[in-house]
């Protein structure tokens, strides 16, 4: 038995037969042809283009069925490339000039462009090389007379867990819309989020970024996929298999209970009110989060809108996106967080290289220097607020001056919109993220200028403990139970109360049982999390008594170590509510 760690991007538990998917790239040989065969090669190429176009269209339609209109972005670039007469011209020229078969001509054109793309430092352009390869390989496989599309792009024989190095956007789309996949394990997958989004939407458990799963798993191995733990278990022992089997049952049960749970009022057993909202990244998610029990969107991360070339970034386009999401979630609130750019590695090369990006020109800092895109976003959010349920949230604030500068830009934006007659009756409420400790210390002052606060726990922990949780050497130090975290959370609650402002929690802590319970016990009542965690958290919160929880949590401040804090919390809660913390989701 072997355990492989990876990034769980889509929840669920699955066990089954592994099917290794080697990237079946057609072996292309440099076959030369006589001049008289040129015509024929070009005819073959044109036929392959037609076939490919039809296939992409079919994939697009399939995606549209499951994802709605937003499906387009997954293969849009490929459709455009296929329509690029110059690209086809170049392939034809190669056939004619070098007297080679169409396969080789495509192959050499692909090679040329991949080399060029490889040298580009800007990641948002680099992602396009996947699309180029994907579409050109489709062309090559369509050159065959019977044109069986690449093995991977056909449905796997029976239910299997697919294990691959990486899959292309169109493969992901085709494979997953066939509902015959039990699960998906990839070596890579970090670069584009298409696969992750699709898996999540379709409820297929997926673990990506495993590094070398294809070397450790052989076809027909029994593989269990536990995306609660972010683990792939290869050839589980009978005991582990039984345990996984139990988890699968519980997960099924949990999914059935989802509906039931989402109807429950958001009250603890002793009638204390709490609110659970969803974090989203993509507009279409707003259509599904309510079915997971979300009473609003507590954090809409807009970076994707900015980075994804498809969505563009014009005020009008943004306006339409925000408006649609606000309507989807109405009457519940939508909190739009302005672009938090600058630290992410997916960020474009536009920013000069920084030694230390997480202490650098990011988020609000960046936009206060380059105001136009910022103002555009603010205006779009303001305009979209006709339904009155939109709030705007600014990340990475460290000082009052920043809030004032933001307020000044908002005032300008408002004036401009009013002049154009495009300002709705209601102002958007303004909030800031509490994620840098300095901001926590200033809550009483910041409170004069904002309507609400939102705690970003991941960054707060990172900045308070000086730990990068993505750095394997120090990740173990990243803990929500560090005494300093408990203290700062208490401080936030107290100061926000004093300032008379609402405060929500939208980091990962909110979506995990023990940390979420601690937050509830500390007096936080608004939580925003991955939509898939909502049912679980609701199940836990509705099982406990707030008064009792509060008593337990109030004692945490006397402990000096994270071990003691976590241990005490766990023991006391287990004592009071047996089974409450068991990881298996069904026990919720």
């Amino acid at each position: 038995m072997l355990r492989i760690k990876g990034k769980a991007v889509s929840p669920g538990i699955a066990m089954g037969r592994a099917q290794l998917h080697d990237v079946i790239r057609e072996v292309v040989l440099a076959e030369s042809i006589g001049e008289r065969a040129v015509e024929r090669e070009i005819w073959r190429l044109e036929n392959a283009v037609k076939k490919s176009r039809a296939q992409l269209k079919k994939i697009h339609l399939g995606l549209q069925k499951i994802m709605g209109k937003d499906a387009a972005f997954i293969i849009e670039t490929q459709v455009m490339l296929l329509g690029d007469s110059h690209l086809l011209g170049e392939i034809k020229e190669t056939i004619k000039g070098k007297l080679v078969k169409a396969e080789w001509a495509i192959h050499s054109v692909e090679k040329k462009y991949l080399e060029i793309f490889r040298a580009i430092p800007d990641l948002s352009f680099k992602a396009k090389s996947n699309d180029v390869s994907d579409v050109l390989n489709r062309l090559i496989s369509n050159l065959k007379r019977s044109a069986p599309v690449r093995a991977a792009a056909t449905a796997p024989p029976g239910p299997v867990i697919l294990v691959a190095d990486d899959i292309t956007p169109s493969e992901a789309a085709t494979l997953m819309s066939h509902k015959r996949l039990l699960g998906l394990v990839l070596n890579k997958g970090g670069e584009t989020s298409h696969t992750a989004i699709l898996a999540r939407t379709l409820g297929i458990p997926a673990i990506l970024d495993t590094g070398n799963a294809t070397e450790l798993i052989a076809s027909d191995d029994t593989v269990a996929l536990d995306s609660v733990r972010g683990e792939v278990i290869v050839q589980p022992t009978p005991e582990v298999a039984a345990e996984i089997g139990g988890k699968i049952d519980k997960f099924t049960l949990y999914k059935e209970r989802l509906k039931e749970l989402s109807q429950l009022p958001e009250l603890t057993r002793d009638g204390h009110q709490f609110h659970l909202l969803a974090n989203i990244e993509l507009p279409f998610e707003s259509e599904i989060v309510q079915s997971y029990g979300a009473k609003g969107i507590g954090l809409y991360r807009t970076e994707y809108l900015y980075l994804d070339s498809k969505a563009g970034i014009s005020e009008d386009e943004q306006y339409l996106v925000y408006k649609k999401i606000a309507q989807n979630i109405f009457p519940h609130p939508l909190v739009v967080r302005t672009y938090d750019l600058g630290r992410d590695k997916s960020e474009s090369a536009r920013s000069p290289r920084e030694e230390n990006p997480s202490l650098g020109l990011m988020a609000v800092r960046r936009f206060l220097r380059d105001r136009e895109p910022f103002k555009t976003q603010i205006k779009a959010v303001m305009r979209a607020n006709a339904s009155g349920n939109i709030r705007i949230l600014f990340p990475m604030v460290t000082e009052v001056e920043e809030v004032r500068a933001i307020r000044a830009i908002m005032a300008e934006a408002k004036k401009e919109l009013q002049r154009a007659g495009a300002y709705p009756k209601r102002d958007v409420q303004v909030g800031i993220m509490l994620e840098i400790p300095a901001a926590v210390r200033l809550i009483r002052h910041l409170g004069n200028d904002v309507d609400f606060f939102s705690v970003g726990t991941n960054d707060l922990i990172q900045y308070l403990l000086a730990v990068d949780r993505n750095n394997a050497d120090v990740a173990h130090l990243f803990s929500p139970f560090h005494p300093a975290i408990v203290h700062i959370l208490k401080e936030i609650r107290r100061e926000a109360d004093r300032a008379g402002k609402e405060v929500a929690v939208c980091g990962e802590m909110a979506g995990r049982r023990l940390p979420a319970l601690m937050l509830l016990g500390l007096g936080f009542a608004n939580f925003s999390m991955n939509a898939l965690a909502i049912a679980e958290i609701k199940g836990v919160f509705t099982r406990i008594h707030y008064s009792r929880l509060r008593r337990i949590v109030s004692r945490l401040e006397f402990f000096a170590t994270r071990g003691e804090i976590e241990g005490f919390l766990r023991t006391e809660l287990e004592k009071a509510y047996p089974g409450l913390l068991q990881e298996s989701q069904g026990s919720a």
Partner: protein, 89 residues
């Protein structure tokens, strides 16, 4: 042959959509049209070629056209740059 310097002012730079618009427009002219950015020179009629420039906002591109309708081509393509590829209000 005529040339014109053009700054990229749309925020996303020459990404896939903008590049598609540009190559589409370029294909409507009979002149040979090139984009020159730093050391690189690509055919403006090729979507993929344009993408390989990876030109982001703020970059300066030289448009170069040679042919019967070179003047119209430069004007039309320059206009597309100035209108930020019709993607921003």
């Amino acid at each position: 042959m005529i040339e014109k310097k053009q700054q990229i002012i749309n925020k996303l730079g020459l990404h896939a959509r903008a590049a598609a618009k540009l190559s589409h427009l370029a294909n409507m002219f009979s002149s040979d049209i090139y984009l020159i950015y730093d050391e690189d020179k690509v055919n403006a009629k090729s979507l993929l070629g344009i993408l390989t420039l990876a030109a982001s906002v703020g970059s300066e591109i030289t448009l170069q056209a040679t042919g019967e309708d070179e003047k119209e081509a430069i004007e039309a393509i320059g206009g597309l740059f100035d209108r930020k590829f019709d993607e921003e209000s």
